[in-house]
Amino acid sequence: MQDIYPQQEDNVIISTSRLTKAFGNLVAVNDLHLQVKRGDVFGFLGPNGSGKTTTIRMLLGLIRPTAGRAILFGMDNTYQLPAILRHIGAIVETPVFYPYLSGVDNLRVIAAASGMLSGGANERRIAEVLEIVELRSQARDAYSKYSLGMKQRLGIAAALLTNPELVLLDEPTNGLDPGGVIEIRQLIRRLSELGKTIFLSSHILHEVQQVCNRVAILQRGNLIKQGDVSELLQRGEQILVRMGMAEETQRAYAILQEAQERGARWMSDIRVETNRQGQPILRIQAPMVRSAEINALLAQSGFFAAELHPYEGSLEEVFLELTTPPTPVGAHPGMAALAGWQASTSDMPGRKGGAL
């Protein structure tokens, strides 16, 4: 069991240890150990209800953990929350502001609440953040008339207002159109280039994959994986093989299984699936550099692949792999997990039979 006070390295901005939150019998977050380093663009992944927002609320002191600790900037948030919050700009779920105030008036209120001088001293900064999120022309409109996308932008403007070291964004692209999503992604990259640490909570895996360097995956309150995106994607590396004739696929499957049993352990999983054209294919969990060896194995047995395609994989597949119990040969993997994820995901690309 780890110490309740986590080891704190200088470059670690967020560190949680055994962080747990239970609402009655429901354990929303269980024994969470997170480490976010300075300069990270940290993706916090999980389907709706997995405990992401509860974790963020605990980090921000909105809810108290049932057990465990959260250390931010080297300070325990149970005792030094005000000092911690001065370094953070955050959006928690859908941003909400005062509906009877305009966008700019809302930012003035937030500026005062954030410790910034009021009375016009920070008007330039307010104008700047409105410019960043491209809301300057609608700044004087009533917030109640804003679209969901504009509300999200105003939320980001509020988060950036004090130039925080850590920007904590909970589902920042909710309600944004594709153009808005791209802009937010670009903004996150720009902020990262400026040395800011970004904690991005999202259930949209491909969004996280594009901007984050590190991720943590949460499922039903439990941390199931944490690490570099590149390392995780290596887990998802696959080789897809389509044989010339459909009936050869089962034979090729048997050849590769046999090779695996004989010692080719670099093939961790071999499955028969159907691609978008309805053709059978082999999906082999193996490093891309092994493509030639697979080709050779098949060729030695007199079978020749019509297509052999390295497939990098995605966080979505890593998630499925990590969360799905072993399935019978040939069965579509991760259906249960995928169903659960898709139930909470509107714009995730469906799992297809690779590029073949």
């Binding site: 609320r57 909400v96 410790g115 001088l117 700047e128 130039n163």
Partner: protein, 329 residues
């Protein structure tokens, strides 16, 4: 920490163009004052505040118009000059002060409950509470800032409406043809008047803390307003009736307890506190007359202690809830 700027100085429009971020002082009092200013800024930009203020002013004006109307009827009838003088003296100081404060207190308790209920409950109802609680200041500072904003509104409201009431009364008094006299005016009277207004403000603030507590507990504007109004207009009158029946039908210590319970109710103590100031302001004869409308044999010390007890209770409970509640909405 003193005020200062942060950042490195990047071109405008750039995310790191932060040389323009000017931080204020971060000591407890400075933060508190800034948050109070923030609360007042929100109130100033809220239509509700203007509506409530207008209702307050119009009510006082209407009360004086009604008195003027009655005086005009008396003038046109066979009533004696003495009768006209009696009714119309409510238009002139010092009695116009009594009318103003009576209207102000009667209506003010509803207005302040609406104002504070919306100010506190609205944060939970809309969800802006999480916006505030993630900005740095301690939760308690936000609560105190709301109380300071309520005090400011009460003070401005009481002073402004009192001045409006007295001026409107004097203007309408011209109709009666009776010249106002200021022979009552002295330093002592001014002191009593000040005490009277402070007592009114204090009573309204106690109602504000009642709304603050119930809105915090109920996490909504509706709960704050409805809960406080039910307390004022339903719960306390019911307790008074129940106690009075119990005192009538029982004997001994039970009857004594039933008789003494109303002495610890909010409304009785507030009425007593205000009534206790009447003698110094309006003279013994008038004070005795006013006491006919509600006799409360409670000393200033008793009322102040009881009201202070309620204040501590309401603020303390609101503080505890505010401090330890999980913000999950």
């Amino acid at each position: 920490m003193s005020s200062g700027t942060v950042g490195t100085g990047s071109p405008p429009g750039h995310p790191d163009a932060v040389n323009s971020v000017i931080m204020g002082r971060q000591d407890y009092l400075s933060v508190l004052l800034r948050l109070t200013g923030m609360e007042l800024y929100k109130l100033r930009n809220r239509a509700m505040s203007a509506v409530l203020g207008t209702i307050g002013v119009l009510s006082v004006v209407l009360a004086f118009l009604l008195i003027t109307f009655l005086a005009v009827i008396f003038l046109g009838s066979s009533a004696t000059q003495e009768n006209v003088r009696s009714i119309s003296q409510l238009l002139r100081p010092p009695f116009s002060l009594y009318v103003t404060v009576w209207v102000l207190f009667t209506l003010g308790q509803v207005l302040i409950v609406i104002l504070v209920g919306a100010m506190v409950g609205g944060e939970y109802g809309v969800g802006t509470i999480r916006l505030l609680f993630t900005r740095g200041p301690a939760r308690g500072q936000f609560l105190i800032a709301k109380m300071l904003a309520a005090i400011t509104c009460i003070a401005i409201g009481v002073v402004a409406i009192t001045l409006v009431g007295i001026l409107v009364g004097l203007m309408l008094n011209f109709v009666t043809g009776i010249a106002p006299t200021f022979d009552f005016f002295s330093a002592a009277w001014l002191g009593y008047a000040l005490l009277y207004l402070l007592s009114t403000m204090f009573c309204l603030f106690v109602y504000a803390t009642l709304a603050l507590f119930i809105a915090t507990l109920g996490r909504s504007t509706a709960a704050g307003i409805a809960g406080a109004l039910v307390w004022i207009f339903v719960a306390e009158p019911v307790v008074k009736v129940v106690c009075s029946i119990s005192a009538a039908v029982s004997k001994g210590i039970t009857a004594d307890i039933a008789r003494s319970i109303p002495d610890y109710l909010l409304s009785n103590n507030m009425s007593a506190l205000l009534a206790n100031q009447n003698e110094g302001l309006f003279g013994t004869r008038i004070a005795s007359f006013l006491a006919l409308f509600g006799s409360f044999q409670l000393s200033n010390l008793h009322t102040l202690l009881v009201l202070a007890g309620y204040l501590i209770l309401f603020i303390g409970l609101a503080w505890l809830i505010n401090e330890y509640r999980d913000i999950t909405n």
